[in-house]
Structures are given as C-alpha cells and as structure tokens.
C-alpha cells in the first residue's frame, strides 16, 4: 500500500474498549479523534488504511463520490473475513458505486419509505406484544435477546421479504458466522454459499408461487437474474435483523444502567422518538467503521488520502464529537440527536432506517410499558458484549421483571 504521508503512529483496529465502559468507543480511537483525527490504522488482517474519526470529516468522506464503496478495489479495507467473502461470493449494491448502486437501490426505496413503514406500526406492535406475552407467560425472567430483541426484527424482515420465518435458525446462524471477526475463511465461505443457495432457491420458487413480498416483486420485474436477487435478499435479511436486534438489547441495557434516563422515559413515553435517536447516537452499533477507498487524491481533515488507499469512517466516534453534540459522552434522551450518523451518510445511508426507527420505537415503548419492573438478572460485569462481532451489542441479556 502506498502511504502518502508517513505518520509516527498506527493504531491497531478494531481497538479494545475500556473495561467498565462498554458503551463508549475504544479509548485509542477517541484519543485519535481529539489528537490526530485522520490517522493510520492496521487492521486485524495486517492491512493498512486510514481512520477518519470526526463528525464533519466522516460526513465529508461518506458524502464524496471520490470515495468508492466498491469492494473490488485492491485498497478496500475489510472489517471481518466474512465481509470479504460477501464480496467475493456475490456483491450486493452496498458495495457498488453509482450508477449500478442507484439502479439496484432505487428498486427498493419505495419498499422502505416512511409512509409505508409507518403503516406497518399495527403489525409491528402486534408482533411485539405477542413476543412479550410469550416471554412473560408464567415466568419472571428470560433472555431478552433470543426472546424479544432478535425475533422482532427477524419476523418483520421475513414478512417484508417473503422469507419463511421457520428458517430463522438457518439464516441467523449463517449471518452470525459472516459477522464474526474470528470466523475462519472456510466457515465463512460455507455459510456464504449456503445462504446464497437458499436465497437463490427461494427466488426460483417465487417464479411459480409469487407472494406480495419484496423478493417476489424483484423476481416479477424480469430484469434481474436470480443471483442479483439473492445478493439483495441476503443484504436485506442480514441488515434487517442483526442491526435492530442489537440496538434493542443494547438500548435496554443502556437505559437500565442510566436509571434517571429510564425513569424519564417511563414517565413520558412521548419522548420515545427523540430517545431512540439519542440511543442510536450514543450506542452506534456499527462500531467497526464504514469502509471506502479513495479513487483520487483527496484532502480530509488536513491529510492527503491518496488514490487507491482504504478508509474506515468510525461513525461511533463521530457521534461522540463534542463539536456537534455537547457533553457527547452523556446519554441524554431528551437531546436533539438528529445529526447523528449512526445510519451512515451519503448515498449509501441505510435504506431501512424508517423501518429501524419504527421497530425501535415500538420495541422500547412496549418493553417499558409492559415490564414496569424490568431489571438485569445477572451482574453487569457478567454481560457478554459483542467485541468479537462487526455489529456491536450483547450476546445475551438475561432480564427479570
């Protein structure tokens, strides 16, 4: 890799979070944001790239078409072996540039627009209530991840895509392997092939037996091949359940650790929408950075990033930038956090964000209303955080009520 400017330091990335502060970004990356906001990093696989850590710089990179999301560029940084395999196997529009990206994404924007997602509130609420009914039936404790946080968005994305929910063990397990930092290349390749094979077969089955899900609609267009549909389906399926599931469980834990904020939200549920934006800012579960590669020499935060060099935008540190969010390390559910970049920025900004917002608002409101005595059922020190995953959160969240 060419290095345009030699820096004395290079940071190992992902860097470890501080023990006892599992909601805060890694101290080394926060230090970089304050002292050397565009800095060099060495990734898990020995690959070298730039880290961009401040709010404005992150927006500048992600909003600039001179930074490519096309992962077939040699300089592209991969956060996990699984993400490299997702590209080698069959690329989705997440890893393409315009006009290909726009062509494929625009086939889906109507499916996730605000009005459509708002109209799904009764359905999402019904699912949330049924999950709480089942979880609390004759019991006073449960794992919130496996019984509520994960099934809620999984059921909803299956419904939208036309994927049978009965297969959730299959796709959740493969998704977990793809997002785990330590998965071996063989594990990743097998999971990837099985997932694509499953989705290709599913797309084929919709030719003969169409339903009103997104996969059927993509099939019915007639201008996409089944592998394109499978790559799109895989992206929506993984992004549709992993992200909201982890946000729901981690948000619950963050509120339990901030009892003043929890009490405030319980007393005034009309704060839910604002609170969800603040939780998105504060927790930013896409914690390993959003990858790009420079296609020209570009100056960012006073540093020249040369054509061909990889960049990771650490959106979790951008969301702790005190120039934009005063007292940024404090969870304040009443603050106006709308300028957060938890969904990314630029033309690749999360397509599913209106759905994520509806799900998170309903999940948090339902949990607090239905479980007034909600508490953590193990010591906080014993909670298992997803340090080993591309998407942050908790592996399990034992709670009681």
């Amino acid at each position: 890799m060419p290095i345009a400017e030699t820096l004395d330091t290079t940071l190992d990335f992902p860097a470890a979070r501080a023990s006892g502060c599992p909601f805060d970004p890694a101290p080394d990356v926060e230090h970089a944001r304050r002292e050397e906001p565009v800095t060099r990093a060495t990734l898990w696989d020995g690959f070298s790239c730039w880290l961009v850590t401040r709010h404005q710089d992150v927006r500048d990179v992600l909003g600039d078409p001179r930074f490519s999301a096309d992962a077939t560029h040699p300089g592209f940084p991969f956060l996990t072996p699984g993400l490299r395999e997702l590209v080698d196997g069959n690329r989705s529009f997440l890893r393409m540039d315009d006009p290909d990206h726009a062509r494929l994404r625009r086939m889906l924007t109507a499916d996730f627009m605000v009005k459509k997602m708002e109209s799904m509130r009764p359905e999402v609420q019904r699912i949330a209530d049924e999950l709480v009914d089942r979880m609390t039936d004759g019991r006073t404790s449960a794992d919130l991840v496996s019984e509520f946080a994960l099934p809620l968005p999984s059921l909803v994305i299956c419904l939208l895509l036309g994927v049978p929910y009965g297969d959730h063990d299959f796709f959740q397990e493969r998704s977990r392997v793809l997002l785990t930092l330590r998965s071996t290349r063989d594990e990743v390749r097998t999971s990837q092939q099985e997932l694509l094979h499953y989705l290709t077969r599913l797309a084929e089955s919709k030719h003969d037996a169409p339903d009103d899900g997104i996969i059927s609609r993509l099939v019915a267009r007639g201008d996409l091949v089944d592998t394109e549909i499978a790559a799109t389906g895989r992206l929506l399926l993984i992004a549709g359940h992993e992200t909201t599931a982890n946000m729901t469980a981690l948000s619950t834990l963050a509120l339990l650790r901030n009892p003043d904020q929890l009490a405030r939200l319980r007393e005034d549920p009309s704060l839910t929408k604002v609170a969800v934006e603040e939780l998105l800012r504060y927790l930013t579960i896409v914690h390993s950075g959003v990858p790009r590669v420079a296609t020209e020499d570009v100056t960012v935060g006073g540093r020249t990033i040369s054509a061909g060099e990889g960049v990771l935008c650490t959106i979790n540190t951008a969301n702790r930038d005190e120039h934009v969010f005063p007292d940024a390390d404090t969870l304040d559910i009443g603050r106006d956090a709308r300028r957060h970049v938890a969904f990314g920025f630029g033309v690749h900004q999360c397509l599913g964000q209106p759905l994520a917002r509806v799900e998170l608002q309903i999940a948090m409101e339902t949990l607090l209303r239905r479980l007034p005595g909600l508490r953590l059922d193990i010591a906080f020190e014993d909670v298992s955080f997803r340090h080993d995953m591309g998407i942050y959160g908790v592996h399990a969240l034992p709670v009681a009520w």
């Binding site: 994404r105 109507a110 627009m113 009005k115 709308r338 920025f345 033309v347 900004q349 209106p354």
Partner: protein, 63 residues
C-alpha cells in the same frame, strides 16, 4: 425561504420526511423526494434547515 430538492441526487432515505413532513414527502412509485411546499412559512424554517443538513445525499438546497 425557497426549497429545492434534486430528485436525481435523492437516495430515498426519508430523513427529510421525518424532519419536516409538511414540506417533504416521498413519491409512492420509488420513494424519491417531492417538495410539498416550496415556500414554507417561517415556523417551519428550522425543521427545513435541519432536513437539508441531515440529507445524506445533499439533495436539498435552500435559497
């Protein structure tokens, strides 16, 4: 204040609709931005400025 939205740039994320629903909407066919009120009243200006600031595709311009 005059509001202009570039439908070619728009990526359909919908954040403008959440910030200023009286000024912005999305086209049913493809989720692309439409401006409902090109000269919104003063009480909506802050929400419109916010919508422009958070638009991920920089598709909203104000004059």
């Amino acid at each position: 204040m005059r509001v202009h939205a570039d439908q070619e740039k728009c990526c359909g994320a919908g954040s403008c609709v959440l910030s200023a629903p009286d000024v912005f909407d999305q086209r049913d066919a493809d989720g692309i931005v439409v401006v409902l009120d090109t000269e919104p009243p003063a009480e909506l200006h802050e929400a419109v400025r916010e919508a422009a600031a958070i638009c991920p595709a920089a598709a909203i311009s104000l004059s």
